[in-house]
Amino acid sequence: MSVDLPPHRAGVRGGDPGLQALYQEVVLDHNRHPRNCRAIEGGRQAEEYNAICGDRVTVYARIEEGVIRDVSFLASGCAIVNASASLMTETVAGLATADARALADRFHRMIAAAPGAPIEDLGTLTALAGVRMFPIRIRCATLSWEALRAALAGSPE
């Protein structure tokens, strides 16, 4: 199923569809108030670093019987890094690790698609679809998903 990008309030982005698509309300909100922004002791963790811009995300996950019971992150980066990590933790909590990996693939495809391509409906994650119009910001959106993948990799607990 494909969706349109949601409408936006006026303001700075008014008249600039690019900025409207990139900085959706949901994205700005998750940047201002990131969810699950904490460390988890004793679980798995993995860090991803973007050497080009210095952005850094650590994802923490507690996995029981192949299911992500708790997931969180700490980040130093731009609004897209923060919002994407926050949205990611909300989305994958409670998923089986295999489903989380599959979702990571779908998210990556949605973000890296050509600007005019149909947008797959990935729920709240769809708010990040506008990143595809800013190729140099794609890695900002995928950094936390790469960290999640790395945290999920390796032997099950």
Binding site: Y23, C53, G54, G77, I80
Partner: protein
């Protein structure tokens, strides 16, 4: 101000085709000059004319075109010599850029003089290009980097400079102007104090030459490097100035054509300066383009350029300091036109993206100065860097767009 002393910025802007372009439908406000400068028509035309009318290899053929290209290339060297006030054209080596020039010195002078336990002094505000070549050398030789710290305002802590020098110090390598902070360093003073201990000094002039008159004999430095593209010239061409006595004693950097006087399988004799350091066919078009850029800049007058940019820096500092939540990084007393800053609650990359949509080009990131960013305790900064063609109206456009950034992320 007397018009004889004032830069005619409107006329200057007309010389730069790129400044006429629009970005996202808005007039380009180009404030990323520390990354690279735009090129005046004279430079673009000079490069084109070489390829269209003069192209030939140099120092080789007996034919007319080769002689003409050789003459033009050597005349470009003389233009650079005059620009830096070097004592002789043999002290001017054409390289790819400042990075290659520093690597050249590290791999020739450095390998010859640096041994186990020796020390190389750099500063905390160096660009990666004046850190990594020395680290590679240190690793190879078992030598150590000593780092001169900076103050809170972004100036070198000169009080501690002497203590950093030791009997093991083999070279001091320091930037003339910080690309991330704008700080102008007292390089003549550094050279004086280092020379008192018999230590040579390399100055990275990449961020200086487009903004101030440089006189290597007055600075009394031993090596001075810069990149053509940061001084309105082409990419891929740069300059190493070296004191003749030092260059003479240094081994070649790369082997090949042009840098030899005779080759047999038993033995090769190296060419004289400066050719010993210019192996292979050089970037002739680049050298000619660089000379055209220098001619352009010197015709405008570097004093006039400095005065214009200083006036803009003062204006920009004032205007930007009125943006709520904006904090400058780099408030040295002596600065070139670099306005680096942080905005409360806004990551520099987001600021950069929103500014770009308003046609305002700035740099956001670590500016190839990760150790400096670590010292400042920030992952990145936003940086507006000025050049001779920038205007007060462009500063106003930046400030206006920054208000928009604040609204978006408030």
């Amino acid at each position: 101000m007397d018009s004889l002393l004032t830069l005619d910025v409107t006329a200057v802007r007309g010389d730069f085709p790129m400044l006429q372009c629009r970005i996202h439908g808005k007039p380009l406000v180009y404030l990323d000059n520390a990354a690279t400068t735009q090129k005046p028509r004279m430079v673009i035309d000079r490069v084109a004319r070489y390829y269209a009318e003069e192209n030939a290899n140099i120092h080789r053929g007996v034919h007319t075109l080769s002689a003409r290209a050789t003459g033009a290339y050597e005349s470009a060297r003389e233009t650079v010599r005059r620009f830096l006030n070097a004592a002789a054209p043999t002290e001017i080596i054409f390289v790819r850029g400042a990075t290659e020039a520093i690597n050249l010195v590290a791999q020739t002078y450095g390998r010859m003089h640096v041994g186990p336990g020796d020390e190389i002094v750099i500063s905390e505000m160096e660009h990666h290009s004046n850190i990594v070549p020395w680290q590679i050398l240190c690793e190879e030789k078992g030598a150590r980097l000593q780092v001169l710290p900076i103050t809170e305002t972004g100036e070198l802590q000169m009080d501690g400079f002497e203590q950093l020098l030791s009997d093991r110090t083999r070279i001091v390598a320091v930037t003339h102007v910080s690309n991330a902070l704008g700080t102008m360093n007292p390089v003549a003073e550094i050279a004086r104090r280092a020379h008192a201990r018999g230590i040579p000094v390399l100055v990275d002039g990449a961020q200086a030459v487009a903004h101030m008159a440089v006189n290597v004999q007055a600075l009394d430095c031993d090596f001075y490097v810069f990149s053509g593209h940061k001084v309105f010239g082409p990419t891929g061409i740069g300059v190493l100035y070296g004191r003749e006595r030092l260059l003479e004693a240094m081994p070649p950097y790369q082997g090949g054509g042009d840098m030899i006087s005779s080759v047999t399988f038993e033995r090769t004799r190296y060419n004289v300066l400066p050719y010993k350091f210019e192996a292979g066919t050089p970037h002739v078009a680049g050298a000619l383009g660089l000379a055209a850029a220098i001619d352009y800049l010197t015709a405008l007058g570097l004093d006039r350029v400095s005065a214009h940019e200083h006036e803009l820096l003062v204006y920009g500092t004032d205007v930007l300091s009125q943006v709520p939540g904006l904090r400058f990084t780099g408030t040295a007393r002596d600065k070139v036109g670099i306005l680096a800053f942080l905005l409360d609650g806004v990551h520099p990359h987001d600021a950069g993206t929103v500014l770009d949509r308003a046609g305002v080009a700035i740099r956001a990131g670590h500016h190839c100065c990760q150790p400096l960013m670590a010292r400042l305790g920030v992952p990145a900064t936003a940086r507006a860097s000025l050049a001779l063609y920038n205007t007060r109206e462009e500063i106003d456009a930046l400030a206006g767009a920054l208000q928009g950034v604040r609204e978006l992320f408030a």
